[in-house]
């Protein structure tokens, strides 16, 4: 599957900024505007569910419950895993301190 153009552009932008071809002040104002309003731009996409109303049935309710369970369990697991990784690294290397 090809990589979306936005992600390619994002990585190129990061490289250009890292090597100072593009300076932060060149794009900061514009990027703040875009990021602050991203939920406005997405709103029309949400309205698209108007055409998908036939999906809202009992199965959909099951999906919502699965979703809630997955988010909660993932938070638990990610937090524990990351803490575990950080503990390993703070023992091995001095660069990463165990910030508490």
């Amino acid at each position: 599957m090809p990589i979306p153009s936005t992600i390619i552009a994002a990585i190129l932008l990061l490289i250009l900024m890292y090597f100072k071809y593009i300076k932060l002040e060149h794009i900061e104002e514009c990027s703040n505007f875009l990021m602050n309003n991203v939920t406005l731009f997405i709103t029309p996409l949400v309205i698209g569910i108007m055409d998908k109303l036939h999906y809202f049935n009992l199965e959909f309710l099951k999906l919502i419950l699965i979703l809630i369970a997955v988010v909660i369990i993932s938070i638990l697991a990610t937090a524990k895993f990351t803490e575990f990784i950080i503990n390993i690294f703070s023992e091995k290397r001095e660069g990463i301190e165990n910030v508490k």
Binding site: M1, I3, P4, T6, N37, L40, L45, M50, I66
Partner: protein, 226 residues
């Protein structure tokens, strides 16, 4: 009269502004203006019997900006480049783990409860920032509009319970807190981390972008395995 771009644009922006006012007035951060605006726009279109296709002409013009807004997600990455360099391995591993764990758990639960593939694919990109999640779902054969809805619900769940779960687990490490909130409930996770402290905030901002970039590669791979 409604058959032009202006209708969709004006309707969306004005209800979005009302959404912002509602959020400010109620002081409930989880009440995203996007949510309020969406509900009212849908009600408006239904009550006045305006076909969705009339709205979409203007709506498409607004959602055009989703792409550039996704590209500039890089800017917070650049601003926090020193944090990334310092904690590169934990950030990468933590986000990678978060994506794979949550995708596999979703697949497992959906299989157990007999959810069809189309809806399963729509559910998997739920913890990615909406612009990228929409794109992944569309490309993988999901219903991208429903994915956006799932993303909103996931964000609200993470925002409402994230801090409590972290407290129950007695997680005190700031990197772990920031990463978990950013990777699982992106934008509101970052809002929450901002309330907690500087390291949490910058790690969680970084995690939103890293999760998005890694997901673009990993999630289609995982979906192709189902």
């Amino acid at each position: 009269m409604l058959n032009n771009e202006l209708f969709g644009i004006v309707l969306t922006i004005s209800l979005y502004i009302i959404g912002i006012k509602v959020q400010e007035y109620t002081k409930i951060k989880a009440l995203s203006p996007m949510l309020t605006a969406s509900v009212f726009i849908i009600l408006f279109l239904i009550i006045f019997k305006i076909p969705y296709s009339n709205y979409r002409i203007g709506g498409n013009l607004l959602s055009f900006f989703v792409a550039p807004a996704t590209v500039v997600l890089t800017v917070p990455l650049y601003k926090n480049i020193n944090t990334i360099k310092k904690y590169f391995v934990p950030i990468m591993l933590g986000n990678l783990f978060g994506i794979i764990f949550s995708a596999l758990l979703t697949i497992l639960l959906c299989k157990i409860f007999g959810i069809n593939r189309e809806l399963l694919v729509s559910l998997i990109p739920k913890s990615i920032t909406s612009a990228v999640g929409y794109e992944i779902s569309k490309r993988a054969g999901g219903i991208s509009e429903i994915t956006v809805l799932f993303i909103i619900i996931a964000v609200l769940v993470g925002y409402s319970f994230g801090e409590t779960i972290l407290k129950l687990l007695k997680i005190k490490n700031k990197i772990s807190i920031g990463l978990t909130l950013g990777a699982n409930s992106h934008i509101l996770g970052a809002v929450k981390s901002m309330e907690m402290g500087e390291i949490e905030s910058s790690i969680s901002t970084v995690s939103i972008t890293i999760t998005a970039i890694l997901s673009v590669i990993i999630i289609p791979l995982l979906i192709s395995l189902i």
